[in-house]
Amino acid sequence: MITHLELTGVAALLGGYFVWNLGMYLVALLRAMKWRERARLSAQLQPRIRQELVSFLAGSENHEAIREFIRKSRLDVADALLSFQATVAGSARDRLCALTIEHELIHDWCTETRSKDPIIRRTAFARLAFACSYEPCRRVAGELLRQALNDPDTEVRFYAWRALVQSGTIEEIEKLFEASLSQSLLIRILLTEELRRFAISLCERAAIWALQSPESKRVLAALEILVAWERAVPIPDLGQLLSHGDRRIRIQALRLARLVPLERHDLRGIGRMVVSDDPEASVEAARTLGAVRFEGALPELAHAMRSGNALLARTAAEAMAEIPGKGWATLEELSAGGDLMAASAAAEALHRVRRKAEV
């Protein structure tokens, strides 16, 4: 049975925790009020700063206005500068970056890269990555971004890579391509976009070396990047990859085959893959044959439609629909045939292609 003393103990325990909660509430309240004030100031300043920066980019030399904004809120000016990241390039971007030196914003960011708070640190590197496309800014940042290439924080490394893409030599870009092959899919996707404009240069050496690597993982990653560029690239000996021992590599090579000029015997090889035992490879092979409109594989595509695999039948029918004349004629025959799945897939493909033709 509980005594008065024990009840007092429980009450004190709960009371103590209540007081602690109250203290936390007051701290949170003060913080929220401070942030609200900050947000209000930002909401007021941001449009004006952006307007001033637009005028500055258009040739205005009114530095005093920007200096005034810097005095009021350095953070807002930095945010406004960064908001132009995706919209300005060339000399306009250089002018913006020069502002970061003139108003010593870049020095703040260099200092913040040493912060213990990962959020402040990453933001600083993101800003430096933007500013360091301008050579004088790179001189101010010194070795910071180069050192960040080996940072334990993946996100900091990513910003260092992004900076490198802005200003690196082709050898450095090649190294970056090499490094990207061992990253997670997400980072590879992000870097793929950054590296897209170097596609042709990278296909001269770095991509070829990666495709010749004995490590399947690297070959696969390189193929995925090449496919994602969606650009016609000169890749010799793709035929070897089409018959690689690793099925994932074969499938990616099939996807890349749509973007690479191929020999007739390679196309015949792809035709044989349509009727292979691997359903995923068969589907990709059918898609590739449709994309390159290869008439020589119509028998294999027709065979695939009767394979009993619904997805393969549909894909093969769509591939044949891409081949006017013989392809359409084969589809008409199949749509009237006895195989229900093949007939349905053929009818669907024909229906779609006719509708497209009408449009």
């Binding site: 429980v10 209540f18 009020m33 609200r36 997400l186 009818a347």
Partner: protein, 430 residues
């Protein structure tokens, strides 16, 4: 005298168990806060613009099981079609082949009969008719006879042509970027992440019922979402969540047993038993949430809906890999906290009051009951409000914070007891 002593002692013991439960709840909230801060610190990058245009991002099939052609359902589907994503399709499974309903759908989305194959790996009753839109919408409408919920979902998965399946709560409001934000963890570790669940508390609601709903949402977000996400294979979707699941994982699990919640729990159980570090990730961003409540009626409906879904899942626990322990201690804890505690607490109040009137229960014991039920409840709710504020690095609205903090008193001195009754009724009802 002996019986009186026994009653008082029993009440004391129950009250102390409530105190321990309160301690555990506060620990879970702290754990949730830690997990959310870790997630917030993991990345400051916004990848959505690049993910939107990258062809490397796998396509997603969004499946909807629709029972009617109401304005709300049509608006929900239209919202899904408007999602910003590189390549996604919406598959609507209409469980009611009523001609009038179908005409509404046909008119709304300009449907035309489709030859697309709807067969697949999962067992499901045949599709009566399939339609595609003639508008530039990637949409497939499957019409079938009314069947079980699992059958409808499995039909959707069979027809899906994408490797990832998305499911949204039809009651929820979601942002256009939902899929782009959800896909991140799957791309980060495509081999091990088999599912992603995203949700954030709803925007502030007006009135006292809105405050209670806010407090409830904060508790759920920190507890059942974040804290469970921090444990090994414990996360399960809560009302208002958006979910991504790998299609091959659904097929390997044999498809749906009932709805998305049961599927998720089963997949977590399979992952737990596989001996490999397969995991489901939580995205605590405002990508999807339930709308703000405007009345007590809506609040009651929401509490009951969640409780029914949870206890429906618990009743099917024997079908899951891992049974009641498919989520580790998650399901037993939910059962304890959302059924046994309210039940015992509801019984305890009249027993204590009657005991005090007749002198069988001492005043100290009565006070102890009050402290360990309502008192502990106030502290748990206060903790959830304060911790939620700490997770937000930029701080929220101060007036909202104050309103919620002080609303924890009336919440636990009136609403809590009413909510206990709702929880008991919903758990026992079918």
């Amino acid at each position: 005298m002996g019986d009186v002593l026994n009653l008082t002692t029993a009440i004391d013991i129950v009250a102390l168990i409530f105190l321990a439960c309160g301690g555990a709840a506060i620990w879970i909230l702290w754990k949730g806060c830690r997990v959310l801060r870790q997630i917030a610190r993991a990345s400051v990058r916004d990848d959505t613009a690049i993910l939107l245009k990258s062809p490397r991002v796998p396509p997603v099939s969004v499946i909807v099981v629709a029972r009617d052609s109401s304005t709300r359902t049509l608006a929900f589907v239209r919202g899904l079609l408007d999602l910003a994503f590189g390549h996604h399709e919406v598959i609507v499974v209409l469980g009611d082949p009523n001609r009038a309903n179908l005409d509404v759908w046909t008119h709304e989305f300009s449907l035309t009969p489709s030859h697309r194959s709807t067969q697949g790996e999962l067992r499901a009753s045949p599709v009566e008719e399939a339609y595609e839109s003639t508008l530039p919408l990637s949409m497939l409408v499957l019409v079938k006879n009314p069947g079980s919920e699992a059958d409808a979902w499995n039909t959707g998965v069979n027809a899906a042509s994408c490797p990832i399946i998305a499911m949204f709560d039809p009651e929820s409001e979601f942002s256009q970027e939902s899929l782009l934000r959800l896909i991140g963890p799957m791309l980060d570790d495509p081999d091990l992440v088999f599912a992603v669940c995203g949700m954030a508390p709803p925007p502030p609601a007006e009135g006292i019922s809105g405050s209670y709903a806010d407090i409830e949402a904060a508790r759920m977000w920190l507890g059942r979402c974040a804290a469970f996400a921090g444990g090994q294979n414990m996360l399960a979707p809560v009302p208002g969540s958006a979910i991504l699941v790998r299609r091959d994982a659904i097929v390997a699990a044999g498809g749906f047993l009932a709805g998305p919640l049961e599927l998720f729990v089963n997949l977590q159980g399979r992952a737990r038993n596989s001996g490999k570090p397969y995991r489901a990730e939580f995205v605590p961003e405002p990508i999807s949430h339930l709308p703000a409540t405007r009345s007590f009626g809506e609040l009651r409906e929401r509490v009951i809906r969640d409780q029914r879904a949870m206890f429906g899942t618990l009743r099917r626990a024997k079908d899951f890999t891992g049974g009641r322990f498919a989520l580790g201690w998650g399901l037993p804890a939910i059962s304890l906290y959302r059924f046994w505690r309210p039940l015992v607490e509801t019984l305890l109040y009249p027993v204590t009051i009657i005991g005090m009137i007749f002198g069988w229960v001492r005043l100290e014991t009565g006070l102890l009951v009050l402290l360990t039920t309502a008192g502990v409840g106030i502290l748990v709710s206060m903790t959830s409000i304060v911790l939620r504020e700490l997770i937000d690095y930029r701080g929220s609205d101060p007036s909202r914070l104050s309103r919620l903090f002080w609303a924890t008193f009336p919440e636990n001195l009136g609403y809590r007891q009413l909510r206990n009754l709702w929880l008991i009724a919903a758990a026992l009802g079918r």
